[in-house]
């Protein structure tokens, strides 16, 4: 035992031994990441070159799947829906989060209670709130149509907000903003609390109005938090599936479209894989540009 230790000690320097120890510590994580994340990604890329057959051999197609996906008008429609969804939910959650955070940064009675209640949509399980929303928007029995048509008379006829493909995307956007703004709010609030109050006092003395204080103090202070929030929200919502699919299957964003392609109907796994690869490339490209331009890394 002592002998092995001495040989080990003589063979490696202290620095090298520390490096080995470091590798040993992260090895389990590396193995998990390789097997659970990297392997499926690579296998998925591999599958995208094949016509996948469940009960027989896969046929190699080359770039045929990718070509077919790229020429499919439904695919471009899905890209359009995704961009619309991502842009509006990102702007919505960020703005709403900022506004609410600024309001919650002021002193008022029972602030502690309101601050924690605001987090509710974010912590509630998605499946329970989704069912509640579906019930609210049911065309015949839901309270939304009852208010709009019977009580307020804004519309003369009931219609299916959550079911019709045209309007459903806006319900999905509203739902996502409602569900996810508390996260942005939480991040903004913690940043706002750390801003030096003296700066606002100095601005007051200089005669700055509310907008000027926001424009020249608050905004620069929260800029990088905002940048990170926008990036995260874009990544998350670009790949969002469960919130949209559970709420309404009619909003065919890329993830839902891919699910239908791969698992419903004719079950074209190869094309599904090709779709995911294209989606992945789009996202990576975006992130690279964003990180360089906006976050200035």
């Amino acid at each position: 035992m002592i002998q092995t230790e001495t040989t080990l000690a003589s063979r490696f320097t202290l620095r090298q031994r520390e490096q080995i120890f470091g590798w040993a510590l992260i090895l389990p994580a590396v193995v998990i990441i390789l097997s659970m994340i990297l392997y499926p990604i690579i296998y998925n890329m591999y599958l995208s070159f094949f016509d996948v057959n469940f009960h027989g051999k896969n046929t190699y197609l080359g770039l045929e799947n990718h070509k077919e996906v790229a020429l499919d008008p439904f695919f471009w429609k899905a890209v359009g829906t995704t961009v619309l969804y991502v842009v509006f939910t990102t702007v919505g959650t960020t703005l709403l989060g900022l506004i609410v955070a600024m309001a919650m940064n002021k002193r008022f009675p029972l602030r502690w209670l309101v601050r924690s209640l605001i987090l509710f949509p974010y912590v509630a399980p998605v499946i329970s709130v989704v069912f509640a929303w579906q019930f609210l928007f049911d065309p015949v029995q839901g309270i939304v149509m009852d208010l709009m048509v019977e009580k307020l008379g804004i519309f003369s006829e009931r219609f299916n907000l959550i079911g019709s493909p045209k309007s459903a995307v806006w319900i999905a956007v509203t739902f996502s903003i409602w569900k996810n703004f508390p996260f942005a709010y939480l991040m903004f609030l913690s940043r706002l609390q750390a801003i030096d109050k003296n700066m606002y006092e100095a601005a007051d003395i200089d005669g700055a109005n509310g907008w000027a204080k926001f424009r020249y103090i608050t905004l620069p202070e929260v800029y990088f938090v905002m940048g990170a929030l926008v990036l995260l929200r874009i990544i998350w919502n670009f790949n969002k599936f469960e919130e949209i699919y559970l709420l309404t299957t009619n909003v065919k964003v890329l993830s839902v479209y891919t699910y239908f392609k791969a698992f419903i109907g004719t079950m074209e796994m190869g094309q599904g894989s090709a779709l995911v690869v294209i989606q992945f490339l789009l996202l990576i490209g975006f992130i690279l540009i964003y990180v360089k331009r906006v976050l200035k890394w």
């Binding site: 015949v140 493909p165 079950m267």
Partner: protein
């Protein structure tokens, strides 16, 4: 070490050579001598039905201590996806309860053990089954079956006879009468609607659509298996269906909207005979009368007269008469484990014994009807716990049960089995087409061309 090896080899030889001799001498079916655990997938997902099936399983397990059965409920719309992925992953269950159409689709794809199903049918006695229900499960070879028919329902248009009478309208049987009534009762400003046909991408839409197609003599294939979907007859059906869908409540709709009927907001809707107990019995209707949260809204009290005012038009006519229904079958997935199949076969034999069978059927009187003639006439069966036979009368019930014998489907054309039609059913191509037309506003010609291209991929 050597001794252990020798022991091991001699044990191997013993199992390989001697055991089959014993097994061969066994009585009916293969014996299950060693402990085995099998999975049973059922499309019955309601908790009370799961509880009943579990009681049957528990009883069976007491009689067969070697066999353990794990009951797994799977939604009928998810079954094709789940069975295909299970096949790819090598985790197939030993027994599944599915629509006969799906049994044919999976059987054609080579996922089912035809010998096991045929063997079990012959053991029970093929002549004891209603011939029509067996036919729905038959493979391309006569006398060989993909699955065993177990229970079935008939569908039709349920309608408010009192409203029809008041308005002086004919019962909704012909295309013309149906459309006329749908338009008459469509009063969206009063939150009342004429009819409900399926427009969501689910099996329900396929079921509504098929009956209309049959009534116009429109099929997917000719008897030689040539795809003829995009025909003038079919186009008439699609156009008619799209017109009817305009009298639906707004947005994509599916069977859940029976709630609207039970609340008196709808004149006609497609449903199976599963609705019979909901109409007649308050405690069953309760789930559809969810008014407690918004009392000023739609929630309605149970209408005890609704059953008196409701009639079923089970036949639709245009160029010909058509009835429609679904037979649910038990099938044995082909997973290559003979022991598991033997255990599943033993369980299936138990499920066809009168006591177990009637217990199963009584889970949903009206909706679950027997495929064995002797059970239909069984006194215990007719004395159902919900009193439906009493309520609707033995004659009406018998009429429904005998309807099972004459179910028509796209996948049998002039007696020929067209397996591709079952795959199309299983992959829900038609519901997707209906959705594109009614919800996404796609043109009928374009949508039909799309559907035909998808169907061609599946051939």
């Amino acid at each position: 070490m050597k001794q252990v090896l020798r022991l091991f080899i001699s044990m191997l030889l013993f199992t390989a050579l001697v055991l089959p001799v014993f097994a061969g001498g066994d009585q009916e079916g293969a014996a299950v001598d060693e402990p085995v655990t099998i999975e049973f997938w059922t499309s019955q997902t309601q908790s009370d039905r799961i509880a009943t099936i579990q009681v049957l399983i528990d009883t069976f397990q007491v009689m067969n201590p070697n066999i353990t059965i794990k009951l797994i409920p799977v939604d009928e719309n998810d079954i094709p996806t789940n069975i295909n992925t299970a096949a790819a992953a090598g985790t197939m269950p030993a027994l599944i309860e599915i629509a006969a159409e799906n049994a044919v689709a999976f059987g054609t794809e080579g996922l089912l053990d035809i010998d096991a199903a045929t063997g079990s049918i012959n053991e029970i006695g093929a002549e004891r089954f209603y011939a029509g229900t067996l036919k729905l499960n038959e493979s391309t070879k006569a006398g060989e079956y993909y699955g065993m028919p177990y229970h079935g329902w008939v569908q039709g248009i349920w309608y408010r006879a009192d409203w029809f009478e008041e308005a002086g309208l004919n019962p909704p049987s012909t295309w013309e009468d149906i459309e006329k009534a749908a338009a008459y009762f469509y009063k969206p400003s009063e939150n009342k609607y004429g009819i409900l046909v399926g427009t969501k991408e689910e099996t329900y839409a396929e079921q509504c659509f098929t009956q209309f197609a049959m009534s116009n003599g429109a099929g997917l294939f000719d008897k030689n298996g040539k795809l003829i979907f995009n025909s003038p007859e079919m186009k008439e059906v699609v156009e008619y269906y799209a017109r009817l869908a305009k009298y639906n409540p707004p947005g994509p709709q599916t069977w859940r909207a029976r709630d609207y009927y039970l609340q008196g907001r709808m004149a006609m809707f497609f449903y199976s005979t599963y609705i019979m107990d909901d109409l007649a019995l308050q405690e069953d209707a309760a789930g559809s009368l969810t008014g407690e949260n918004f009392s000023e809204l739609a929630g309605a009290d149970f209408d005890p007269d609704l059953v008196e005012h409701t009639r079923l038009a089970s036949t639709i006519s245009n160029s010909q008469d058509a009835g429609y229904g679904v037979v649910n079958s038990l099938a044995f997935p082909d997973h290559g484990d003979a022991l598991k199949t033997a255990a599943a076969q033993r369980f299936v034999r138990y499920l066809y014994t009168p006591n177990a069978y009637i217990t199963w059927l009584h889970m949903a009187p009206g909706g679950m009807n027997p495929v064995l003639a002797e059970i239909a006439g069984n006194e215990r069966f007719q004395n159902d716990p919900k009193g439906l036979f009493q309520h609707y009368g033995k004659e009406k019930m018998q009429e429904i049960i005998s309807g099972l014998n004459s179910i028509e489907t796209f996948s049998i054309v002039e007696g020929n089995r067209i397996a591709a039609a079952s795959i199309i059913y299983s992959k829900m191509v038609i519901p997707q087409m209906i959705y594109k037309i009614t919800q996404e506003g796609m043109g009928i010609d374009q949508a039909m061309a799309w559907a035909e291209a998808e169907m061609a991929k599946l051939q």
